[in-house]
């Protein structure tokens, strides 16, 4: 494999236009970029923009509130991936604003590492309702579908907030000003769904794109591929993660997902509905759908929330419209210790990543 420094030299020798903006749509990519300090060493013409790559950040606030409320019943155990626990909702002072706060107040809320952990907890607690607050992109949807396909305990239900990545990118591309000239497509998502899924970026919108893995070398290789396409004005879909990403993706996982989930126009926190961007449980899983099983509580949580706390620009940060340091709250009212928006909470959130890489002010 070619080393990162070699790709960097190749990028530096390209005859770049005066400004070229490249969007990535994966927290893992943003992390690699920030941790390797790539923005410091790339030619100044290149702007790397973190885009919609944080599923927890776009999980509707209503779903977070529903999970918190469900945790208030002593008959219930709420489980979620670690990131989800700390994501704040926008509530009145004195009310519980996250699952982590609910846990501190005595609710049975547990962090899990894999969907199978949810099934295990349900098996171990047959007299309780176990509710799995499942937020994530395709890379989470696939293992959740696999768990569902295996058959799950009767007392386990899912509050599904799973999303597809490409519709958010499609929405940006269809907007008046997409804000980027090239795309680094997400390697993990593409390994499940296939590189093919990103072909529309090139064929419909003529925007250069390449799939990247998660090392600095792989990100730079993909970036180089995109920049060469831009320089030559010949958009195509590159793949800098060939060891894991095939054109068609993981067909078995896709079949499994199609059996368990249906697409719908899902809400993204602070952004609104994006066509065909959400997974919901199919009707044969109605008995395991927390939205039906606990319809009153879920519906009660839906009607009352603001999308984002006042002053919080997370929604615009998620869509790559604003860089983290441009948010008025970044580093002032909002830090990992006192997060206001979800982007400062999740390890995949751009604000959190920039903060942990030591970015304290506009570069």
């Amino acid at each position: 494999m070619t080393e990162a420094s070699v790709w960097l030299d190749r990028i530096r020798s390209l005859p770049l236009p005066a400004r070229v903006r490249i969007l990535n749509v994966c927290g893992g990519h943003e992390r690699s970029i920030a941790m390797a300090g790539l923005r410091d060493v790339l030619p100044p013409e290149i702007t790397l923009i973190p885009g919609p790559g944080c599923p927890v950040c776009v999980c509707p606030e209503a779903d977070i509130l529903a999970a918190i409320r469900l945790s208030q019943d002593s008959e219930n155990i709420v489980v979620a991936f670690g990131d989800m626990l700390r994501v704040p909702a926008n509530v009145k002072k004195g009310e519980l604003r996250s699952l982590a706060e609910a846990r501190r107040a005595g609710a049975d809320v547990r962090a899990i590492a894999t969907p199978q952990d949810a099934a295990k907890i349900a098996c171990a607690n047959p007299l309780k309702n176990v509710i799995f607050s499942a937020a994530g992109f395709e890379t989470t949807a696939a293992p959740v579908a696999a768990m569902l396909a295996e058959g799950i305990p009767e007392n386990l239900s899912l509050l599904v907030s799973l999303r597809r990545t490409w519709p958010a990118v499609a929405m940006l591309l269809e907007s008046e000003a997409p804000g980027f000239e090239g795309l680094i497509a997400p390697g993990h998502v593409a390994s499940v769904m296939g590189a093919e899924e990103w072909q529309f970026v090139v064929s419909r919108h003529f925007v250069p794109a390449a799939v990247a893995g998660f090392t600095a070398a792989s990100v730079l290789a993909a970036l180089h591929g995109v920049l060469v396409q831009i320089v030559n004005n010949r958009p195509s879909l590159g793949n800098a993660y060939p060891a894991f990403v095939r054109r068609e993706g993981n067909l078995r996982a896709q079949t499994c997902m199609a059996e368990q989930f249906a697409d719908f126009d899902a809400d993204w926190r602070g952004i609104g509905a994006i066509p065909n961007s959400g997974f919901r449980l199919k009707s044969h899983l109605a008995a395991h759908d927390a939205r039906q099983k606990f319809a009153d509580i879920v519906a009660g949580a839906a009607g009352r929330t603001e999308a984002m706390p006042p002053g919080c620009d997370c929604a615009r940060v998620v869509m790559g419209r604003l860089s983290p340091v441009e948010c008025r709250l970044y580093g002032k009212a909002c830090t990992p210790r006192t997060p206001i928006g979800p982007c400062m909470v999740s390890d995949e959130g751009a604000c959190r990543i920039w903060w942990s890489a030591g970015q304290r002010h506009a570069a």
């Binding site: 420094s5 893992g28 894999t114 390890d347």
Partner: protein
Amino acid sequence: MPHLVVGGAAARRVITLAHGNGGRFMRELIRDIFARHFCSDSTADAALLPRFEGDAMFTTDGFIVDPLQFPGGDIGTLAVHGTVNDLAVSGATPRFLAVTCLIEEGFEIARLDRIAASLGRAARDCGVAIVAGDTKVLPRGQGGGLYLSVSGIGSRNPGAPPGLASIKPGDVILVNGTIGDHGTAILLARHEFGLHGDLISDCASVAPFTIAAEAFAGLRFMRDPTRGGIATVANEISLATKCRVTLEENKLPLQEEVSGICDMLGYDPFYLACEGRVVAVIAPGQAAALLAAWRALPGGGRAAIVGQVETGRARVVLRTALGGERILDELEDDPLPRIC
């Protein structure tokens, strides 16, 4: 006979509340396990310590690792090395330990025996005597199996480093081996995230390295990068000296498995715990000689010069392998709970 818990064919002897009640069970437990493995007198209420040369140095530490046994060690070896290393990096020769065991009701006695044996062995290997101890039993559900609290006394060596205040711009920072091994080994031992691996914790005494370093008059400061890793030690140096500390990413020794897992999970290896490593700050003229001395020691083959103290704004900067820079800030929250 200690209490029997009948579990089908696998009936096993376990700790009961009676083992902490001060009576016969407790006396027998102390005699059969602690006194035997720790080679200590179990009858006295206080130990009379023989006189030694040099000022006495005293330290204490608690140990709550999960899992209790991991590749390369267990909570017993961790407790000895953790305490001994705190003394060693302070420039002391470790001499005496006191060990308090907080055991959860239901803990398997055979397991306690294995851990006490490895604790005793580690202490003997480090040349320290366990001279005092206590045992308490917590009701089931109120403890994590076994917690240890260890205090240590050492004698201050003539070459003990003067400390943080003596560090000057230009000084050089060394580490005696690969970083993040313990934190990663614990992560693997938990089999979380579906991860498996053969990585072994670096859990060990750093005394051979600190003794070697004390031969150098230019030695300023030593610390063991346990919780919070090397980034946290660098921040302590920066905070105390009000100097910039620069670490070089491509000089920091990392095992391939550690960097692979960090890439996968988004952990920063510079914040992961080590349990057999020492960071030293030394005058620039003696850094190469200290590096050579460390590399000549068993287990020191991957010792490295990893950074320097510089004038400039007080912060820790990592110069990345590609020549970029990023700040290594103080840790905001614990990436891995219960590791040491």
